[in-house]
């Protein structure tokens, strides 16, 4: 079950945070996303020596906490997508697929001439597409 998705700008400013469960505290999720940014920076600054390419966009599992798993994805413009999920067994391919579709939705939202880069994403279409992608992820990993 995806709990939360977030888009963080290149100055670590939040551009979009959406949680998908009513139970969890939004503040706690903010905190989890914020902590994961440190892990992203660490991965970016110290690439593993056996790492395949320097411009790898998908960062994979950032760190597991007691209830959640946090996945990260870094675009070439240093915009980070963070995914927080409570699923115990999540296939890597599913997460990669999720991030690919999320990236496409993000690019369309940012192409809106009325969107100011660096400000929060206020597009309703983006929010709807993200909900659709999240629902599809839930169905594909459950089935």
């Amino acid at each position: 079950m995806i709990v939360c998705v977030a888009v963080v700008g290149h100055q670590n400013n939040p551009l979009y945070i959406q949680s998908f469960t009513e139970a969890d505290d939004a503040l706690k999720l903010h905190h989890v996303v914020h902590c994961s940014l440190d892990v992203v920076d660490e991965r970016v600054n110290n690439p593993k020596k056996s790492g395949p390419m320097l411009n790898e966009t998908y960062l994979g599992l950032l760190y597991p906490t007691e209830n959640y798993k946090v996945y990260g994805y870094l675009t070439n413009t240093k915009v980070k997508f963070i995914l927080v999920t409570t699923d115990l067994d999540v296939k890597d391919a599913d997460v990669r697929n999720f991030f690919r579709r999320f990236h496409a939705a993000y690019v369309d939202a940012v192409s809106n001439p009325f969107h100011v880069p660096g400000k929060k994403i206020t597009s309703r279409t983006f929010a709807e597409r993200v909900s659709t992608i999240v629902k599809a992820f839930g169905l594909s990993s459950a089935g």
């Binding site: 939202a109 192409s111 809106n112 001439p113 009325f114 206020t122 597009s123 309703r124």
Partner: protein, 186 residues
């Protein structure tokens, strides 16, 4: 020498040079954004877009007539059909349809199902009165004025405002007869 048969919109569209659609969309978006920043009033921006369209239209009509090889339109109905099927197809790559003719045959609606100018666009709450594609109404008005038709063009449906398609109402006000710049008896 007999005139060549009128070429269909598809044929002309295939023969002209193309530009990347996203570049076109993003350029138009940048123009609208800059106008909003400069003029700040939504009504002013609408007027400017219409004026820009008018200036484009008075020049575009020559290119259209040169490439499309259409014969002189018999009545306004044929004019509207030509604009929708050949004109829009040639310049924007989309086909429009003509509906809602009134009893006189002077007023109709041109309906566009998709519109390359508005890909990715969502109007923010501060610009709700904006006719984003107003340049199109200016283009048609300018082009028709160059062929001696005075028209009035308004938007009746706009997807960015929540409708399901783009609809322009084209109303023929009068046919202006050609005037000669000199008097015969002088």
């Amino acid at each position: 020498m007999p005139a060549a048969a009128p070429r269909s919109g598809d044929a002309i569209f295939a023969s002209v040079e193309h530009v990347n659609a996203e570049l076109f969309t993003l350029t138009y978006g940048a123009i609208v954004r800059q106008l909003l920043t400069d003029l700040e009033e939504v009504d002013e921006v609408n007027k400017q877009l219409d004026q820009m369209g008018y200036n484009i239209g008075i020049r575009l009509i020559d290119e259209f007539l040169a490439k499309a090889n259409v014969s002189r339109c018999v009545d306004f109905k044929e004019t509207a059909e030509t604009i929708a099927k050949v004109g829009f197809k040639m310049f924007l790559g989309v086909t429009a349809s003509v509906t809602n003719w009134d009893a006189d045959g002077t007023c109709c609606s041109i309906v566009l199902e998709d519109n390359p100018l508005v890909d990715f666009v969502e109007l923010p709450d501060t610009c709700q009165g904006l006719y984003y594609c107003n340049v199109l109404s200016g283009v048609i008005r300018g082009a028709l004025e160059m062929v001696s038709m005075k028209t009035e063009i308004t938007w009746t449906r706009d997807v960015l405002r929540g409708d399901d398609a783009y609809e322009l109402q084209v109303k023929l006000l009068k046919l202006v007869p050609e005037e000669y710049p000199y008097k015969d008896d002088e």
